[in-house]
């Protein structure tokens, strides 16, 4: 038996005229965690979808344990011992854990046997789950575990995880990566598609770096440093990530707030008070950071400030148009089946009437494409055709140019690579410097600290301003300073 569990040799794949992969190579050894690194659009997911039989390569060879294989569909790949956990969940929300795991099986469903299998899997992997829990009631981290259990339930020896930590909190992500290490200690192979360098350096044994569809670096983690991997990922282009750090605190700020909440409360549909008598003011020329652990009312606070939600009590004073960058851009910011021009025209369409000014929208879109470095052929392209980073650049540009006074950003760098993140941050800072009042929330505290002039912590629905210190904010986020 070969030492290599999965080998992909000179894989080429064209989508139309776009070359997604050009002679990419990849080899993951038995008993290792292998990180597949690369920027958004580097071809990581495409390469692994080929390994999983979802996409057929134009040329190249797939070898499992040294034997050449051709996969016509994922079921062939599953038969060969490959499992894949996709970036976006593929579970049926209304079904239970057991039912979801049984999906895709054959023959008659035997609840007792599925239970036994889940119990056995849980014991083997340490991923315990209540088989009767409904998916829709589970938090994202638990859903991810179900996905993994599902992938492992079919004698999987090679497990591919596509950006598994994107939807998880930091703690959940750590736990998941520790589990991945456990899995390979039994001789399996885990492949981790990621653009997070630290995850790769900390948890992987080997690393392969893709850039523009080609393998540019491959080797053991012990031979790699952060610098070598970054320069492999980004190539000759300069890394601009440093520009994020070190915000000058001396910005011209006016005294009167642009956005303010006074004793504002909001209840959700179940009557639970999500925001409790919050008082927040944001002035022109400053970035107010919001720090919070998931589910402490920050989602509602941001939407109040952005005018996307109405308060149950208290006073909300905001400009008529507030730019809003929601965390789920594909759901809340863009109509993916519309052209870029239509997506630009969408901004504030509910406030206008009469005729569409298509010529104007076309001009605006062209300006956004060039001024905000959106990599798109032209404005008639569908939003779906853009990579996540380019979609976000368009949204950021549209929202900043559309308001020019106030901007609310929620996890603005979610799912973006290093360069796109730097570009988005630079834009937000430029908006602040141009005198906009900006609010930014990120589940990554470092991102908040890198950008904010002041920080408000949301804990259990209450908003408090705290000093700009990592330690202090961290304690406030979990309510430790209240004891």
């Amino acid at each position: 038996m070969s030492d290599v569990a999965l080998e992909l040799a000179s894989i080429t794949k064209l989508f139309g005229r776009t070359r997604a992969l050009s002679s990419a190579t990849f080899a993951a050894r038995h008993g290792t965690v292998h990180a597949l690194l690369g920027e958004n659009g580097a071809g990581k997911t495409t390469l692994m979808r080929i390994a999983f039989g979802m996409i057929r390569p134009d040329s190249g060879t797939i070898r499992i344990d040294g034997v050449g294989r051709v996969f016509a569909s994922p079921s062939d790949a599953i038969g060969a011992g490959i499992g894949m956990v996709h970036q976006h969940f593929t579970l049926v929300p209304a079904m239970t854990v057991a039912e979801n795991i049984a999906l895709g099986g054959h023959g008659i469903m035997n609840p007792a046997r599925i239970r036994a299998m889940i119990a056995e899997l849980a014991e083997r992997t340490g991923l315990s789950m209540d088989p009767d829990a409904r998916i829709e009631d589970l938090p994202a981290g638990a859903q991810q575990r179900v996905e993994i259990l599902k992938a492992l339930s079919r004698d999987t020896r090679i497990l591919i995880l596509d950006e598994p930590t994107a939807v998880l909190t930091r703690m959940e992500a750590r736990e998941l990566l520790v589990r991945a290490r456990d899995l390979v200690s039994h001789g399996g192979t885990a492949i981790l598609i990621t653009h997070k360098l630290r995850d790769a350096l900390e948890f992987a044994d080997d690393v392969t770096v893709l850039r523009r569809g080609a393998t540019v670096w491959s080797g053991a983690v012990s031979d790699a440093t952060e610098e070598t991997l970054v320069s492999a990922m980004l190539g000759g282009e300069r890394v601009r990530a440093e520009s994020v750090a070190g915000v000058a605190a001396s910005n011209p700020r006016s005294a009167t707030p642009v956005m303010s909440l006074t004793n504002v409360s909001v209840r959700d549909t179940l009557g639970v008070e999500r925001v409790k008598s919050a008082t927040v003011a944001v002035r022109a020329g400053e970035i107010l950071g919001v720090a919070a652990v998931e589910g402490n009312g920050q989602r509602e606070l941001l939407r109040l400030l952005a005018g996307r939600m109405t308060a149950d009590s208290g006073e909300v004073a905001i400009p008529p148009v507030v730019g809003f960058i929601p965390e789920d851009r594909q759901r809340d910011a863009l109509v993916e089946d519309f052209s870029l021009r239509d997506n630009v025209a969408l901004l504030g369409a509910g406030l206008r009437s009469g005729m569409m000014r298509w010529g104007e929208a076309r001009e605006q879109t062209r300006e956004l494409i060039s001024n905000y470095d959106v990599r798109a052929r032209d404005e008639s392209l569908h939003a779906r055709a853009l990579s996540g980073g380019n979609q976000q650049k368009l949204v950021v540009g549209r929202e900043i140019e559309g308001s020019r006074t106030a901007l609310v950003a929620e996890n603005p760098s979610r799912g973006l690579d290093v360069q796109a993140t730097a570009a988005v941050h630079a834009r937000i800072q430029a908006a602040r410097d141009a005198g906009m009042a900006v609010v930014i929330y990120s589940s990554d505290l470092d991102e908040v600290l890198a950008l904010a002039n002041r920080v408000v912590v949301m804990y259990n629905g209450r908003a408090r301003e705290v000093p700009l210190e990592h330690e202090v904010i961290g304690r406030a986020m979990v309510g430790l300073d209240l004891e």
Binding site: A349, S353, G354, A385
Partner: protein, 300 residues
């Protein structure tokens, strides 16, 4: 008149209600509203138009026609508004409520033409003929082809123009494709926009019924609609929900139904053959759309 000329005339007469009802379906579907009730709305429109047509005094002359058409559109809008209200007030899915309202409309007409609106001799289950002033003028003398066909074409063009060039149309499209982004990025009042589109959809179907009464039947009777509202779903889907496309697909289905009638009379091939062909066309079109979609998706 030659046979082929007669066929073309019949085809266009058949196409008229299909184009209008197809537009009704296209408008609703574009807004993300699954209005399966074009048939009921069409029947409601036909009923109102017939009622106006038999009630008006002959002295108002040609004014009877616009009155009847407007009454039909309002009745169709009202029939759709019931489903819209059930949806926004109680969350009743329009797929279910509109089907139920179809039955109510169909059997409601059965009652009316045997009861309050039955012709004076009480022999036939139908109303009296509508006033001459409410008759739709013919487009080609000596044929059944009436101005309703022109109205249908005009409505298709207007709908296309509104959808493409006005903010109102854009709101409907955005709300239908992605209500979340429409609300969050577009600040669009999505429930309001979609309900408005639903009601306009009903008005269009109601107009189809009114034109059928004023241009073809001149009276209300049972089975005034041989399922126009259902065929309209096929008409709209085959056109890709494009209002201009609906003209073409409406005429295509009009031709199919005309041919089916002719074949049955002359060769004895059952009329239902046309339904089988219609269904087959729809399946093929949906399959092609799906294949294209999955190709596009795997390319993205």
């Amino acid at each position: 008149m030659t046979g082929s000329m007669a066929f073309v005339i019949d085809m266009l007469v058949h196409a008229t209600p299909l184009i209008l009802a197809g537009l009704a379906v296209a408008i609703a579907f574009r807004a993300g509203i699954w209005n399966i009730g074009a048939d009921g709305q069409l029947v409601a429109g036909a009923t109102a138009a017939a009622w106006v047509g038999i009630s008006v005094s002959a002295s108002i002359g040609w004014l009877a026609l616009p009155l009847a058409l407007i009454a039909g559109a309002i009745a169709g809008a009202f029939w759709a508004a019931i489903a819209a209200w059930l949806r926004s007030r109680f969350g009743v899915l329009e797929v279910i409520s509109t089907i139920m309202l179809n039955f109510i409309a169909t059997y409601g007409v059965s009652y009316l033409v045997r009861g309050p609106l039955q012709e004076p001799t009480h022999v036939y289950p139908q109303t009296s003929d509508i006033a001459i002033g409410a008759h739709m003028p013919t487009l080609v003398d000596g044929t059944r082809l009436h101005w309703g066909f022109v109205i249908a074409i005009a409505m298709a063009v207007v709908t296309w123009w509104v959808m493409r060039y006005t903010v109102a149309g854009f709101r409907v499209r955005a709300s239908g494709v992605n209500p979340f982004a429409a609300r969050s990025a577009g600040l669009i009042d999505v429930p309001r926009v979609t309900m408005a589109a639903f009601i306009v959809s009903g008005a269009m179907a109601g107009l189809a019924g009114a034109i059928e009464v004023c241009g073809v039947t001149f009276a209300l009777y049972e089975n005034i609609s041989p399922g126009y509202g259902y065929t309209a779903i096929a008409v709209a889907l085959l056109a890709g929900l494009n209002p201009l496309g609906v003209i073409g697909t409406g005429i295509l289905f009009g031709a199919l139904e005309t041919a089916a009638g002719t074949l049955q009379r002359n060769v004895g091939i059952p009329v239902t053959t046309a339904s089988v062909i219609e269904a087959a066309i729809i399946l093929v079109v949906i399959a092609i759309a799906r294949i294209r979609q999955s190709r596009a998706a795997s390319a993205a």
